[in-house]
Symmetry: C2
Subunit: 158 residues, 2 copies
């Protein structure tokens, strides 16, 4: 049957169309540039980096430039309340470390990463590329990126 | 013209339907409970509250329980690096104060609040109710709420 002008065949409801177009969004189109520090730097330097780069989360890499840890503003705030001297405390003492890091890859669906962020109650995940020897950090995916995707979806032209 | 079974008239594309259903979402269906402190408490107490309540932002109210300020983890981290004694420093010294507070109301569109969060680069806004004498804080709308709305949209049944 040939649809007339003004009608189109879908067999689908509006909400199904909506869900389908959301399921086409992938990490690589919404990710940000990652901010990465070495695991040998101090907590003080990590806090300075967080302010200079204006991010909520920094990723920590080892000597081979592989992902070793994640540090959030919350981790840093907790550390700053402690009795330790921040300029001599290395970040690898307080960071969340492998294998406890929630990650994603560039071809993952944005919706799946959004669920991970909600389920794990974190603000950001590293976008990684698996290599033989570890994970290379190639991006950052945050609730800000999801919020931007939400706005972009609502504003796109038909 | 009467549509046949399996066809339905819309005159609209999938993306237009998507944008329309997103424009029906309002703050009141996605907001969280606000965490509020008095402007007389110390920065130290504000940090403890942030951890106990596990939120990224607290709202500060004056003696008449009206919105007076906003404090984020970022503000508190900055203060914790300073030389001041946190337990004697009142929050009203470091908070973002009226009239510089970005706010929303319960009937605002979620999409408009999402844009505000992006444009102002903040993580959360208070949901307020205007009274004759000021703004009463009735909720909290964050990038986490937007991320949850994003997931809910993708998962709704047709």
């Amino acid at each position: 049957a040939r649809p007339r002008v003004g009608y189109f065949y879908t067999g689908k409801t509006g909400t199904q169309l909506l869900a389908e177009s959301m399921k086409k969004l992938t990490v690589k189109d919404y990710q940000s540039i990652p901010v990465v520090i070495s695991e040998n730097v101090s907590v003080y330097d990590a806090i300075v980096t967080i302010f200079l780069e204006d991010v909520g989360t920094v990723f920590v890499t080892d000597d081979e430039h592989h992902l070793a840890g994640v540090l959030s503003r919350k981790d840093l705030l907790r550390a700053s309340l402690g009795q330790q001297e921040l300029s001599t405390l290395p970040v690898n003492i307080i960071m969340t470390r492998m294998p406890n890091i929630t990650m994603c890859e560039k071809d993952d669906l944005l919706i799946d990463v959004a669920k991970k962020l909600i389920d794990t109650q974190i603000d950001a995940v590293p976008v990684v590329k698996k290599t033989n020897s570890g994970y290379e950090v190639i991006g950052r995916l945050t609730k800000t990126n999801i919020t931007k995707a939400f706005v972009a979806l609502a504003e796109q032209e038909g």
